[in-house]
């Protein structure tokens, strides 16, 4: 046992001394998702962005096209509001759960 790598580890109010696995150390960290966040559901390429920052959009309005798994996926605004920030540009290759843009809900 690698004594010098032992750490405190809490399971239901009790602290244990133990080793951690690499997988545990690299586990995904959870972030709260905001209402107007538009997140990619598939990895792919941004083909077209149809909105600009500051523009008003209605719920269900087409905002961008993401090519993923050999399909052109039409991404619609999840809420009505104003486009706050766009984090991608046309041609960008993005992974799954990438934050593409933010809408300030109105």
């Amino acid at each position: 046992m690698k004594e010098n790598e032992l750490v405190d580890f809490v399971v239901t109010a009790r602290k244990y001394r133990t080793l951690l696995t690499n997988k545990y150390k690299n586990r995904p960290v959870w972030h709260e998702q905001e209402v107007g966040d538009v997140i990619s559901l598939l990895p792919g390429t941004i083909i077209k962005i149809l909105v600009e920052e500051g523009q008003k959009v209605k719920e269900g309005e087409l905002i961008l096209v993401l090519e993923a798994m050999k399909m052109l996926n039409r991404v619609a605004a999840p809420v009505s509001g104003i486009i706050k920030e766009i984090y991608v540009k046309e041609g960008d290759k993005i992974s799954k759960t990438h934050l593409m843009l933010k809408i300030d809900p109105k």
Partner: protein, 515 residues
Amino acid sequence: MTDLEKNIQALREMKAVAEKGGGEAAIEKQEAMGKLTARKRILSLLDPGSFHEYDMFVKHAGRDFGMEKKDFPGDGAVTGTGTIFGAPVCIYAQDFTVAGGSLGLQHARKITKIMDHALKMQCPIIGINDSGGARIQEGVQALAGYGEIFYRNTIASGVIPQISLILGPCAGGAVYSPALTDFVFVVENISKMFITGPNVIKTVLGEDISMEDLGGARVHAEITGNAHFYAKSEQECFDQIKRLVSFIPWNNTRKAKSIEPKEPSINLDIDKVIPADPKLPYDVRDIIKCIVDDSNFLEIQELWAANIVVGFGRMDGETVGFVANQPMVLAGVLDCDSSDKAARFIRFCDSFNIPIITLEDMPGYLPGVDQEHAGVIRHGAKVLYAYSEATVPKITVILRKAYGGGYIAMNSRHLGADFMFAWPSAEIAVMGPEGAANIIFRKEILEAEDQNAVRQQKVKEYIEKFANPYVAASKGFIDSVIEPKETRSLLLHALKLSVLKEEYRPAKKHGLPPF
């Protein structure tokens, strides 16, 4: 020369051509990568002189893109029968020197033929994967070949042991044959397994990742859990397989071969492994080594989900499966991965008539959003399912902590354990004393002037009352509280008592384990 001699001469020449595979240059390339050729691999694995090759002269079935003019010796697959320590096995190896080991219809037919043979002969099947993938020129008939292999892997599952070696690339659909088998072996720098390779990931995502980082041996042995054994060289891999084969039966109607019993090493003292403080770790494999014959324990999936230990040992010469919480890693909690690992191993043991000994010391399930969102409910349920479903002898020894849902899951009396032992150090309770005291005495602690002192006092009270094996023993949930030194002899007794065990389940097509 007589006619017979001429015929024999001709046969020998044909065999020599076939045995050359893809020819000198291709063989050199293969060896430069640290890889043996398909036939050499088989010969290294089997008992000397025991290999008999089938279908050496099979011709490939490609008829398009000029393929009809090409000759692929044995169509890139070497198949046959042989023995390992006298155990009959059927075996196939993809030959990367012939058309990159690509899988065409006839290549697949050779494999499915030897698989069918294994099922009929009721002996283990061993597959050596080293292939560039489907032979694209053959189109859908190559895909048909894969499907026919997967179907046989599934039908043979739980009937004959199935072993896969990944000794080269194994990509796309090809990965699903190993994934359906019981034990997957990988070798550092040689094994590559993935559904979509680095090129596709680069095209789609623009992300650069090497084959090794994406689906190398270490990744599958430590991160994905797709592999069960990890070796530094092909030779080490073959030695691991031989050792595994010595522990498992030839098929599901037999028991594993017994060997001469041997006492555990006298250098180990079972009384000295576990620290007195329940919060301190130790290596549970040291306990196993104090219990098994010759202190000889074959660990499976050593690098993945190391918070649970599974593997084979022998008791009085007979193979036994061990499932043990590992306090040294993540305090021995159950989580998604360790649940999957334990459940699959329990189901292997149950399929192949191997009694299961469970050594328990666990604080509960791993807390965390990532665990909950990864489906720890569904994964954890597999352990309950596997233990409850198993009808082989099931014996549990509670070494230290047995808290909450973990107590139930780790082969408790309630899931059908045949023998329940506990050491005097066992703590069988709904949760750890700190957590329990915080809940039960919440009001008293909050209202106290010195909250910490009262909390400590209440924790102490809880420990005295519940952190022991005697409450469970008073209900009959534990059969006996034993001294650590008695463990081996009582386990031998329990195993002896359960040789005639028969337990029946209602007839069904199959159960629905929470996959």
